[in-house]
């Protein structure tokens, strides 16, 4: 499974790669939104926080005609940059395909970064760029294979503020479609779907961690209307869904405990339709 290049390098240097454990898990938050956040902490800071904890944040802006504006666009880019992820702005019809594409590319990128770091330790500072292209092609093959085999956990964080309403059927379809893509992978994949703003809170878990989303799931019913878009706080709450994360005490008090008190495990299912 590992390329000869890697085996060669290990043989030469006598090192064992820490990276190449079979059970690597990639974690991502995918924000689907149509505009600027206007409530709570900065979503860019929230994304940086997620990245610190090994979670990549990707953002998709869904627009109709050209309503998003320059401010919304730059926010989307900044969130993705801070979250170590990718972003794209698309029409609702393109959403399903973009979700799949962005997730895959972000995965490739994360693995590439880890591999590159490993190679830097072996080959010196410049890492992979110092390899001749033919060798790099072998690394690419290895990255591809690792991407397919690794575990993947994705939280889809959907903006359900009023302006998203006409786009919800596309979002719905994208969720179901994404579930099919995840199921087609060799590695273990899980997804969860959350919406923001929630009823009286920043975010609501609509579909808890699952390996398969049934088509019958309906998100569009009872959307919180109004102008509040707490993207930042929603990202912070989404981080809490990843079990590996140790939240700092203050955040833990504010989000995780509150989260579980409000909808403890048993009640989570109530939010799934």
């Amino acid at each position: 499974m590992f390329s000869h290049l890697y085996v060669d390098t290990v043989a030469k240097t006598g090192r064992m790669g820490r990276l190449f454990v079979k059970e690597a898990t990639l974690r991502q938050i995918l924000v689907v939104t149509d505009g600027c956040s206007n409530s709570g902490m900065s979503p860019v800071a929230a994304a940086a926080l997620a990245r610190e904890q090994g979670i990549t944040v990707n953002v998709i802006g869904v627009i109709e005609k050209s309503e998003i504006g320059e401010k919304g666009e730059s926010e989307i880019r900044e969130i993705a940059e801070a979250g170590g992820g990718l972003c794209d702005i698309v029409y609702p019809q393109q959403l399903a395909q973009t979700v799949q594409m962005l997730t895959r590319k972000a995965m490739t990128r994360t693995i590439h970064q880890v591999v590159n770091k490993e190679l830097q330790e072996i080959l010196g500072d410049s890492g992979i760029t110092e390899l001749a292209p033919a060798k790099r092609v072998q690394v690419a093959g290895m990255v591809d294979e690792l991407g397919e085999k690794s575990n993947l956990n994705v939280v889809m964080l959907v903006d359900t503020s009023g302006s998203m309403k006409p786009k919800m059927s596309a979002v719905q379809q994208a969720i179901h479609d994404f579930s099919i893509s995840l199921r087609s992978r060799s590695g273990q994949s899980r997804m969860a779907v959350c919406s923001f703003p929630g009823k009286g809170k920043h975010m609501e878990v609509r579909i808890p961690w699952t390996e398969k989303v049934e088509q019958a799931h309906q998100l569009s019913s009872d959307l919180a209307m109004g102008g509040i878009t707490p993207t930042g706080p929603a990202i912070v709450e989404a981080i809490a869904l990843f079990e590996h994360v140790q939240l700092p005490q203050s955040l833990s008090d504010r989000y995780r405990d509150a989260h579980y008190e409000d909808d403890g495990e048993g009640n989570l299912r109530d939010h799934v339709f």
């Binding site: 292209p133 790099r136 893509s181």
Partner: protein, 325 residues
Amino acid sequence: MLITRMTEKETCVTMSSKVTTSDLPRRFHGKWNKKEYHVLRELGRGANGAVYLASCSGVKQAVKVGFEGMDLLMEVNVLKNVQQGRDSRVGPLLCDVDDLVINGKACTFYAMEYLEGDQLDQYVQKKGTEWIPVLMVQLLARLDILHRHGWVFGDVKPENVIVTHSDKQVRLIDFGGVTKLGNAVRQFTEEYDRAYWHQGDRRAEIAYDLFSTAAMMVRLSVDSQTWQTSQGEPRQTQLLCGIIRKSEGLYPYRVPLIKAFHGKYATAQEMRAEMLAILRESTAAAPSAPTQKQSASGAGGMWISSLFVASMLLLAGTLYYAWFL
């Protein structure tokens, strides 16, 4: 502002590769292999990069410059692997992989054989729909080779198939979707994606490519308006079957098409053989049919009634596939 963003997709996508390929110099040389390229014009854009027509020591080549190096290299990896068995040409030959420097940043590119030809749909538009079955049979032969090497093409669509000017051969271009059998399909287009049509998942299987091929055959045979009517919700292959029933060109091929929709073929070769048989039959039967009609007695009557029986059997088969599978 925003509209340019939309057309120049991917500009927003990455942070590490802010290099946009529009900055590509007219003339450049590879950092490692030192080959010199003279860029002539842009040929198109895929999900992983832009393709340019360039000349390298007097030979025309297609050069693909990546938005993100790793994605492009994965494509090269596949192209290389597919080329290990060169019994027949499936796609373009890989000529060079190298880096070029744009605005001080290294950017990966690869050069491949330039296939001069028409995109499949444009070719059909120019030459007529009677070419479709012939081209499909050819395409299935190419896919079969790919499958036998353990790969699935993934993104079968008219834009990724070319009919060469020189020898009228079908060749696959854009290997960005090519996936190892059993892995998740890397790239797809919804219109031809079996998961989108609720006919299975996106695991790279031979049947995945055959579904796309069948859907593409329907697409090529009808005008875009008819095709649009099949795109409604919920998307079901019954809609495609409806089109097939009404189309004179598709109707004879209904059995292989429906079998492909339902994943009933184990290999592309099997589907190809059945389509080829129908193609031969239709070309043989076409000119003799009117003369037979004039003497519709004795042997002619026998011939017609046997034809009737055969068509009833085909109809029964179609109904069986449409309803029970």
